[in-house]
């Protein structure tokens, strides 16, 4: 996993609640067997017109938000399907972090697996940032994971909560499977207990 330590970059607004993973990437674009290359399909139905040309009204198509690396969005971001293609598309497009008042559970787990930082700030504050972005071209945000701090262009610093273990993994880019494999003995113990405790459990061959 790509480590996340700090990110300073242009912020883009996505001022909407309950953005679902079908909106982030429609199901018809899940048909790749690779992890890469999904950025071209990000927000596809919103981003492109039926004739395939970019929709000039779509926020991320505006020249001022080109090369944004931080997305600021409404509450319950990433609800719906468990498709990890949604974080893959956001990351492949160029986002390194998403700031929102809340995230859906599976989406936020999926983001953590690939080092795409989810920052939770209070809804009032997110709404203020959304207004500030609209009012100031080139609005840059700096995120420091070690300090758990978001700094806006006016120098205001917001602290955010972060699960300590998740933070540790993100900072160091740790591979979850590798970490789990350090507990091989515990897994083996559990497997033998399980066999005697619940011998009826099904096996497929």
């Amino acid at each position: 996993m790509r480590p996340f330590k700090k990110e300073e970059g242009l912020a883009a607004p996505y001022d909407k609640a309950n953005v679902d993973t079908d909106e982030i990437i429609p199901a018809e674009y899940l048909k790749r067997i690779e992890r890469t290359g999904f950025g071209q399909f990000l927000f596809f139905a919103k981003r492109f017109l039926p004739d395939g040309s970019p929709n000039p009204d779509f926020v991320l198509n505006q020249p001022r938000y080109q090369n944004a690396s931080i997305l600021v969005a409404g509450p319950n971001f990433g609800c719906g399907s468990s498709r990890e293609h949604a974080p893959w598309a956001l990351e492949d497009y160029g986002f390194r972090a998403i700031i929102a008042p809340s995230f859906a559970d599976i989406f936020t787990n999926n983001c953590a697996q690939i080092g795409l930082l989810n920052v939770v700030l209070p809804e009032d504050r997110v709404n203020q940032i959304l207004r500030d972005i609209a009012g100031r071209e080139g609005y840059q945000i700096a995120i420091d994971l070690e300090q758990q701090a978001v700094t806006d262009p006016f120098g205001r610093v917001d602290r955010f909560e972060m699960d300590a273990f998740r933070k540790h993994c993100l900072l160091n880019g740790l591979d979850a499977i590798g970490l789990t494999m350090q507990h091989e003995d515990a897994i083996r113990d559990f497997e033998s207990r399980r066999q005697s405790r619940a011998p009826w459990l099904p096996r497929f061959r």
Binding site: S82, D105, N110, I177, L179
Partner: protein, 468 residues
Amino acid sequence: MPRTIIDKIWDDHVVYSHEGQPDLLFVDLHLIHEITTAQAFEGLRLNGRKVRHPELTLATVDHNVPTTPRNVPVKDPIAKKQIETLEQNTRDFAIHFEGMLSPRQGIVHVIGPEMGASQPGMVIVCGDSHTSTHGAFGALAFGIGTSEVEHVLATQTLQQRRPKTLRIQVDGELPLGTTAKDLVLDIIRTIGVSGAVGHAIEYCGSTFRAMSMEGRMTVCNMSIEAGGRAGLVAPDDTTFAYMEGRQYAPKGQAWEQALDYWRSLATDEDAIFDKTVNINAADVVPFVTWGTNPGQSVEVTGRVPDPDEMPDEASKANAIRSLKYQDLQPGTPITSINVDKVFIGSCTNSRIEDLRLAASVVKGRKVNAHVQALVVPGSGQVKAAAEAEGLDRVFREAGFEWREAGCSMCLGMNPDVLGPGERCASTSNRNFEGRQGPGGRTHLVSPAMAAAAAIEGHFVDIRAWSKA
């Protein structure tokens, strides 16, 4: 200390626990399908890792498979490649696979239960958010992403934080003409689409005790639409009667031993939940969603709501956006909304009981001339059972298309999609923008309500209509 069923299952699956870290949980059953696994197998190969327990993994194809006759090759080259990739991966890693030509192929959340693979007290995961369906058996079942699929394949475990617990207490009898689908739509509109985020739900009360396994699966299935990590119903005699004799259910002495354990799972009397919500079954009505999230629903006899009457600015903004997409005017009676397509299927409502209910509504009637209606059974076994009862004839004679099993029009990954601007009465679970096809408009309803809409060409109050 008294514990909930959620805590009991959790505690029995902790492999490793350490202060400040997520628990390492053992997974009893890992269901896999063609859309969310290719990259996980690729990850295993790149790192030289094996599948730790292929015998605890069950694979099928459902999301992108065509529902037209199975003797025709899959036309979409990318879908074909995904299906072949899963087939090759299951062969390479010795995983049980119910392929497109198997009589047991079907939606992963339909075949797990019907094969007897989904059992009480299990931890079940799948790279699909509707994995919560298996909670109907008293299992802790939840959706995961592809990196977690790879983690489970490699280690048979998952790193998870213990969820908070939410009790949804429903008592009383569901009124005639309403179903488990209407109840779960009521629950979602009550607590909201993020009302259960961070929680696992236990559905408690006399309404669930009286409910069939199919109904319980419908409710648990849509737990995720309220943001719930998982949703379950404690196992009881209804559960055991459904399971007994199924292919992978325990037999003989093992069955008795399993029963003792399964009965011990029920939540202890004084167990404390983090949150409780009460719903009165008698208040449930046939619901139709008008918006673009499953919480935006209204009674069929009601009208499309006015955004100006929403309780807060955020819901007002959402409603305006939803109505624009859905091309609906505030104040429009729901029963005056015409539909172009009707879809009876999906992991929410494609089981035999759903098909029986829909068939009872359409029997002897004809699908409206302006409507295309299709029935997509949840599995090959559901299809065979329906055909043995003659339900396929009832649907065909009424003018419905009778299809092969798969996810189909629920998510528009196969050729069954809505065209831009088309409106659909759907028994599926999500009415998100573009979910059933770009520009398509979805209204979620019960199988009975969908069937009646197919006949009339618009929504009808099934309670009054069936008496007419």
